[in-house]
């Protein structure tokens, strides 16, 4: 990837003076201007930019909400209603923040499944990928604590159920839960500390995002063929090509986002959360936010408290091992006819688990959840390792250029050297 190593040369005298003291303009230039981007990227590769936009959006709206919100069990619910009714444009800022969380997760799930489909997690991008898993876990913790802050019925009982997960730990579980609560049940100390952490975690996410982007810029982006950039003809410079494409995708995503905010702002929420928290009554049907449902279904599928908790956490932690569980040498599922089918079955199972998580824990829902849970783990522990050995992948193109332009006859408009690189396949 040395083809695009055009070094940054400051034009002005001040630019040269500054660059020799803090070479930040050069860093931006090499990372976001001259950086080589595979020429065959699809819109699935714009979700990184969309996610950066969502993180910034959540932090900005969140900082403003924190100016009007009161993290006290006696006043939190009222202060949220105060934001909705009295604060100028408070309704807009809150709806942007509340729906923003869902938009963030929609984008992150597309980003994650794009990574699964095109094998972006495989060598040499394992660390990049694991940093992504860490970001996802931080996102879940942040979203969970944010949902507690309005102190409605769903907030309170969601907090109770999720913190009680830790009581499943043998011996020390109860003590840990009392330390989480700062009391003997979810109460004011819990709300106050959740608010503190909810404000802190997004900045930790921002930190890991910087590492994630740094790790991305070492091997460069994966692409729909999964084969690396071999010559300058396989790539285009980040600016203007990726910059404009990312901005366009972000704008389209903002339209989608705006539809939720302005037309159905409470569609993804629960009516019960407009009832103030009441520790004496649990809502008849408590469910987490939609983005937790598949994991919630796995928790409920296991008829044992500790077992359910372990299964739920394992369902995410198993992602960390994916680069080593997948034994196939071919990155992109486009060239893996068998895996392509398993991939879509896996997607269907995840969606089904999500739906089952929203159903009551009774009857055949439980059995279906159990079957799906077994399949979920089998995908990682059986399908991924075994397919690498038994599957016969389709022939890979010689280069990204060839996959885009088709195989050219000798001398037909393409330099003979372009697809003659001796590097081995993906």
């Amino acid at each position: 990837m040395s083809q695009h190593s055009t070094t940054y040369v400051p034009k002005s005298a001040f630019g040269r003076w500054f660059e020799s003291r803090l070479p930040i303009a050069g860093l931006v230039h090499s990372s976001f201007v001259a950086f080589p981007v595979p020429r065959n990227l699809t819109y699935f590769w714009t979700f990184g930019a969309i996610l950066v936009f969502m993180l910034v959006s959540q932090i900005v709206t969140g900082v403003f909400l924190a100016m009007y919100y009161t993290p006290n069990a006696a006043m939190a619910f009222q202060s949220v209603e105060h934001i909705m009714r009295d604060v100028n444009y408070g309704w807009l800022i809150r709806y942007l923040h509340a729906n923003g969380a869902s938009m963030f997760f929609i984008a992150v799930y597309i980003h994650i499944f794009r990574n699964f489909y095109y094998g972006s997690y495989k060598a040499p991008r394992e660390v990049l990928y694991i940093l992504g898993v860490i970001i996802f876990i931080l996102m879940m913790a942040t979203a969970f604590m944010g949902y507690v802050l309005p102190w409605g019925q769903m907030s309170f009982w969601g907090a109770t159920v999720i913190t009680n997960l830790f009581s499943a730990i043998p011996v020390v579980g109860e003590t840990i839960v009392h330390y989480l609560w700062g009391g003997y049940s979810v109460g004011n100390p819990t709300l106050n500390r959740f608010f503190s952490l909810h404000y802190l975690l997004p900045f930790m996410i921002a930190g890991v995002v910087i590492l994630h982007i740094w790790a991305l810029h070492v091997p460069g982006q994966n692409n729909p063929t999964g084969i690396p950039i071999k010559s300058g003809k396989d790539a285009v410079p980040f600016t203007p090509y990726a910059t404009i494409k990312d901005i366009f995708a972000v704008v389209v995503f903002m339209i989608f986002f705006a539809y939720w905010v302005f037309y159905i702002p409470n569609y993804l929420g629960h009516a019960d959360n407009y009832i103030p928290a009441n520790p004496a009554v649990t809502p008849a049907h408590i469910v987490p936010e939609w983005y937790f449902l598949p994991f919630y279904a796995i928790l409920r599928a296991i008829p044992d408290k500790l077992g359910g908790v372990i299964a739920m956490f394992s369902a995410i932690l198993i992602w960390v091992f994916m680069p080593w569980l997948d034994t196939s040498k071919v990155r992109s599922t486009a060239y893996r006819p068998l895996y392509k089918q398993f991939f879509w079955v896996f997607v269907a199972v995840c969606v089904l688990l999500g739906w089952l998580g929203s159903r009551p824990a009774e009857g055949w829902y439980v059995i279906a959840s159990q079957i799906c849970t077994v399949y979920y783990f089998a995908h990682f522990l059986i399908v991924l390792p075994v397919l690498g050995f038994v599957e016969r992948p389709l022939p890979l193109p010689n280069s990204i250029l060839e996959s885009v332009m088709g195989v050219q006859k000798g001398g037909a408009g393409m330099p003979a050297g372009a697809n003659a690189e001796p590097q081995s396949k993906g």
């Binding site: 009982w157 109770t160 159920v161 999720i162 913190t163 009680n164 997960l165 009581s167 499943a168 009392h178 330390y179 989480l180 609560w181 700062g182 009391g183 003997y184 049940s185 109460g187 100390p189 500390r193 520790p279 004496a280 009554v281 649990t282 809502p283 008849a284 049907h285 408590i286 409920r300 296991i302 008829p303 044992d304 408290k305 500790l306 359910g308 009551p360 824990a361 009774e362 439980v366």
Partner: protein
């Protein structure tokens, strides 16, 4: 600086200082974490709020379940009918997930009064009274079933609803948070 420890057979005074400083820093750092972790624990006000509460039983009709709070925890006081007591006693204790006879869960001679914590032992929801297969409690969150003695009979809950410390001051009054002093 030319002579580094790798060339010296005998440990030097500098090695000792290096290790001692590192150890002091590690111990000091770990010690400093302690007050921060400890600050997360229930504070003095929360603990003080755990003073025993008195409950007058006269208004609680047979078959009724009353909810009260002690130390921020929900507690059920259930006035059991003769039929419910019989159902709780006529159980093969060995067959239970958390084997406990009904007589161990009520005060001697006060079979009609069942006092249990009101949060499901699975993940803390409040089970619905007079519901479920055994007409004790049914937890709507994840489907745990409790009998009229508050013992777990189905679902993911691992143990019975625990009994808070309490004692009878008189036939119609009990005090929660305080065991009888013999």
């Amino acid at each position: 600086m030319a002579e580094t420890t790798t060339h010296v057979a005998e440990p030097t005074r500098r090695d000792f200082l290096y290790i001692a400083t590192g150890a002091a820093a590690a111990v000091g750092g770990a010690t400093l974490v302690w007050p921060f972790i400890q600050s997360l624990a229930p504070d003095a006000a929360t603990k003080a709020a755990g003073a025993p509460v008195e409950v007058d039983l006269t208004p609680i009709a047979e078959g009724q379940i009353v909810k009260i709070f002690w130390r921020g925890n929900l507690i059920f006081i259930r006035h059991r009918s003769a039929q419910e007591i019989k159902a709780a006693q006529d159980v093969n204790v060995a067959s239970l997930r958390d084997p406990q006879a009904d007589s161990e869960r009520v005060k001697n001679g006060k079979d009609q009064w069942l006092v249990v914590y009101g949060n499901c032992t699975h993940l803390g929801c409040v089970p619905l009274g007079n519901a479920g297969e055994y007409n004790g409690w049914f937890c709507p969150c994840h489907g745990s079933v409790f009998d009229t003695s508050g013992r777990v009979r189905g679902g993911p809950a691992p143990i019975n609803l625990p009994i808070p410390p309490y004692s009878f001051v008189s036939d119609t009054k009990l005090i929660i948070g305080q065991e009888a002093t013999a």
